[in-house]
Amino acid sequence: MTMKPESEKYNKVLNILRNSNPILKSTKDIEKEVIKRISMSKQPGCNLTDVIDFLFGWVYIGWVRRSLVTASVFLVLVFVWQQGVMLKQINFLSRQIIVTGGETVNSPARQVEKLLMRYKSSGRSFPSQSITISEKQMKELLDSVNDLKIKYKDLMNLIEEDPELKKYIENKLIENNRSKIKL
C-alpha cells in the first residue's frame, strides 16, 4: 500500500520534468561548447583510427582483400620454392668431384696417338713440326707401341683372373704411393 503512492509520486515528478522544457538563454554558446568538447575529446583517438582506416581500409573491400592475401601467399610459395630448389642444387654440387692434381689436362698419350694417326694418314709428314726420323724407325716405334699395348692387356687380364695377385699388386701400389708421399 505504501509503495503505490511513492511510485505515483515518482511518475508525477518525471512527467513534470518531461513536460517542462529548459529555458535556454544562449543556444549558440551551448552548441559551440558541445562541438568544442566533442572535438577535444576525440582528437587523440581520431588520428590513430584515421591512419588505421586509411592504411587498412582495403580489408573491408572484398576483392582487394582477396587479391592482397593471394599475392602474399604467392610470394611465400615462390620464396619457399626458390630456396628449396637452390638448396637442392647446392647439395648436388657439394657431391661434385674435386680435382686436386692441378689444371693439367693435356694427355700426352692421346696427343701422341693423334700425331701417329696423322702421320699414318697424311703422306708420312708432320705438319708444322720438324723431326728427323726415318719411316723404318717410325714403323718400329708403331710396332713396339702395339706390342706394348698387347702385353699390357695380357698383364691386366692375368691380374684380374688371380685375386691373390690382384691384392698383392694393389698393396704394392699403395706402398709405392706412400713412399712417394714420404719423399
Partner: protein, 343 residues
C-alpha cells in the same frame, strides 16, 4: 719419346680463366707455360690455343724446378665489357685453334628474390656424320671420359688403381671403336656427297650407311695392312664393287683424306676455368683445388656433338626480400585488424 718431346715442345700448356661479373663483363686471364728455350718461338700467337693479342696486360716469369728444368710462364689479362667482345676475339683468332667455331654466352635472369646468371663457352661439333659418344659409353665411363687428365691420373694411382685402370682400358677400347665408327660414317657421308648425281643408288648415302657394319668388318680384318690395301683399291673393291671402285677411286681417296683430317685433327688442348658471381647452383664442370670450375678442352669432346662448358649462379636481391617482408607484414596486420573488429 721423340714424339712426346715434339708434342710438349710445340704446345704450350694453357689455362684460361673467365671471371664473370654480374653486369656481364668478363675478366679473362690466360696462363701459358712453355719449356721452349728459344724466345722467338716461346709464346708465338700462332701456337696459342686461345685468342690473344697485344692489347692484353702481360706478365712474364720463369720457374725452375728441382731438376733444374726451366718453365717460362706468361700471364695475360684483359677486361671484356661483354661476351660480344669475347666472341669477336674468337672470330678474329689467329692462333692454333682458329679453325674451330667457339663462342661464349651470358644470360641474366631476374627472379624477384634472386638474380640468376649463366655463362657458357661452346665449341661446335666438327663431324657432319658422326655418332654421339654417349651411344658407346655408360654413365661411369662418360664421367671418366670427360674428366681432366690430372683426375684420371690421380684415380689410376690411388687406392682403387686396378678398378680405374680397368675403367680406363674400357673407355679406351670403346672410344677406339667409336672413332672407327665415326671415321667410317664420315667417309661414307663425304664419299656419297662427292659422288652425288654421278653414281647409282648402290652407293647412295642411305645405301652406304646401311652397310657401315660391313665396312667396319673389312677394316677389322685388314687392320695391319689397311694402308696398302686401301692404296691398291682392294678394300674399296670389296666394299663397293670393282666397277664403282675403279670409277670413283679419286672421290673415295678425297673423302678418306677429309675424314682423316677431321678426326685426327690438329686441335691443341687447353683447360678452361670459370669463376661465377654469387653462389654457384649448377655446372657440368669439375671443381679444382681452389674451388674454381674446370673443364678440359679436348677435340674428342666436340667431335660429334657440340661441347658446352656452362655454369649457373645466383645472387640474392636483398631489397626484394625487404619489400616482400614489409608487404607480408602489411597484409597480415590488415587481416588481423579485420578479425578483431569483426569479433
Amino acid at each position: 719419346m721423340i714424339l712426346m718431346m715434339v708434342v710438349s715442345c710445340n704446345e704450350p700448356e694453357t689455362v684460361v680463366t673467365n671471371f664473370v661479373h654480374p653486369d656481364g663483363s668478363v675478366t679473362r686471364k690466360i696462363e701459358i707455360k712453355s719449356i721452349e728455350s728459344d724466345i722467338n718461338k716461346r709464346f708465338k700467337t700462332s701456337d696459342l690455343q686461345v685468342p690473344f693479342d697485344s692489347t692484353w696486360r702481360l706478365k712474364d716469369s720463369c720457374e725452375i724446378n728441382k731438376k733444374g728444368d726451366t718453365t717460362w710462364v706468361r700471364r695475360a689479362e684483359k677486361e671484356f665489357n661483354n661476351i660480344d667482345e669475347i666472341n669477336l676475339a674468337y672470330k678474329s683468332d689467329s692462333g692454333s685453334n682458329k679453325a674451330y667455331s667457339r663462342h661464349a654466352g651470358f644470360k641474366k635472369r631476374f627472379k624477384w628474390f634472386n638474380s640468376e646468371y649463366r655463362f657458357s663457352e661452346r665449341i661446335e661439333k666438327i663431324l657432319a656424320f658422326g655418332y654421339p659418344v654417349k651411344d658407346f659409353l655408360n654413365n661411369e665411363e662418360l664421367l671418366y671420359f670427360y674428366s681432366p687428365e690430372s683426375l684420371k691420373q690421380e684415380k689410376e694411382n690411388g687406392p682403387d688403381s686396378l678398378k680405374y685402370k680397368a675403367l680406363s682400358d674400357s673407355v679406351k677400347n670403346k672410344t677406339d671403336k667409336w672413332t672407327i665408327k665415326n671415321f667410317i660414317s664420315e667417309w661414307t657421308g663425304e664419299f656419297s656427297k662427292l659422288t652425288q648425281g654421278k653414281a647409282g643408288q648402290d652407293i647412295s648415302r642411305e645405301s652406304l650407311k646401311a652397310r657401315e657394319a660391313e665396312l667396319e668388318q673389312i677394316i677389322a680384318e685388314n687392320d695391319k695392312k689397311f694402308d696398302s690395301l686401301w692404296a691398291n683399291g682392294v678394300i674399296l673393291k670389296k666394299f663397293i664393287g670393282e666397277t664403282n671402285a675403279l670409277r670413283y677411286k679419286s672421290e673415295a681417296d678425297s673423302a678418306m683424306k677429309l675424314a682423316e683430317s677431321i678426326i685426327f685433327n690438329d686441335f691443341k688442348d687447353y683447360s678452361l676455368r670459370i669463376v661465377m658471381p654469387g653462389k654457384l647452383i649448377g655446372t657440368n664442370g669439375f671443381s679444382d683445388s681452389s674451388q674454381i670450375l674446370l673443364w678440359p678442352v679436348n677435340s674428342d669432346y666436340f667431335l660429334t656433338e657440340p661441347y658446352e662448358m656452362w655454369a649457373e649462379s645466383k645472387i640474392p636481391n636483398r631489397w626484394a626480400w625487404i619489400v616482400s617482408g614489409l608487404f607480408l607484414v602489411f597484409v597480415v596486420t590488415g587481416v588481423i585488424i579485420r578479425v578483431i573488429k569483426k569479433g
